[in-house]
Amino acid sequence: MDFLLKPWPWFVSGPLIAIVLLLLLYFGTTFGMSSNLRTLCTISGAGKYSDFFKFDWKAQRWNLTIVLGAILGGFIATHFLSDGTTIKLNPETISDLALMNFTQVGDTLLPNEIYGWEAVLSLKGMSILLIGGFLVGFGSRYAGGCTSGHAISGLSNLQLPSLIAVIGFFIGGLLMTHFILPLLF
């Protein structure tokens, strides 16, 4: 059972994600996580401001249930299925991040420089989380899907729009990683 506690290699994780997608198809639904953000807006009363949020959110309860499960899954994985192994990043990645003054790279899931309380409670850190989250929410709805809806479901169904969206993900991601992050850190 020791292998369960170690980080799972890509060739185990990838096929398991495919099983998630195929199970959801078998259940008569689809795999797409960003739709839940829209549903949460509707539940919060966004329908008063835009027709975009006027839909029967109860029809999306299955997807919200997945979210609840995913939260519990994150809890179980970190508390019961982890031996505290650090993330084995490429040494180049670590030295690139060190140049941006990131410390203890890979010791935790997320960098303290962004998600540690000290960073979060600073103007810069708070702005990073707010802007990052905003762009993810805005962009995924504009593009009609996120990593699960386009990069996994859409590409698997050989959808050209999803390929265009994934190319967009990379344009944005490369711009941020190579040009904007070095200005921020």
């Binding site: 799972w8 890509w10 060739f11 994780s13 398991l16 994600i17 495919a18 099983i19 998630v20 997608l21 195929l22 078998y26 259940f27 639904t29 689809t30 996580m33 960003s34 953000l37 975009f52 309860r61 997945i66 499960g69 995913a70 519990l72 899954g73 994150g74 179980i76 299925l81 993330i87 990043l89 180049e92 990645t93 690139d96 997320l110 309380w117 990073i128 989380l129 990052g132 989250g133 905003f134 993810v136 929410g137 805005f138 995924s140 709805r141 504009y142 593009a143 009609g144 996120c146 699960s148 698997s156 999803s162 967009g168 993900f169 990379f170 490369l174 941020m176 990683t177 190579h178 992050l181």
Partner: protein, 137 residues
């Protein structure tokens, strides 16, 4: 009771993404730096296996649990919305290091500042809903 299976799929999903480290900001950074095959391997093998699965579903006209034909919906044809929306999404993904699935998984993993990202993502979705008629699709 009909939601129980979705709850278990969610747990399974949360465990996979945590154990594969796909929820890690570092792994996203490393991916966009092209310094590791890890994320490409995860997404690539997930897609490859799903392509085969969907092919078989269509070929054998497999039925869903409710006995209906399984249809995988097609995405509406366009270029502008996908390239622009995708780019905006990518900027946020590489900055916050979390997309809409991992956001919730990280909350369960005890990373409470992620709540700020979740609320901001809801705000982003809300603003899209407000101004979508003014955007090129």
């Amino acid at each position: 009771m009909k939601f129980v299976k979705f709850f278990f799929v969610g747990i399974f999903f949360g465990i996979i993404l945590t154990k594969s480290e796909a929820v890690s900001w570092y792994r996203i950074y490393e991916m966009f730096k092209f310094q590791s095959f890890h994320m490409y391997g995860i997404i690539g093998s997930a897609v490859l296996m799903s392509v085969c699965g969907i092919f078989l579903i269509k070929k054998f006209k497999l039925k869903s649990i409710a006995g209906r034909a399984i249809v995988v919906p097609s995405k509406e044809k366009s270029f502008t919305r996908y390239i622009l929306g995708g780019t905006i999404f990518g900027l946020g993904w590489a900055l916050a290091g979390a997309c809409p699935g991992p956001m919730f998984i990280l909350l369960g993993a005890g990373i409470y500042p992620i709540l700020i990202v979740i609320l901001a993502a809801m705000a982003g979705t809300f603003v899209y809903g407000l101004i979508r008629h003014k955007l090129p699709h």
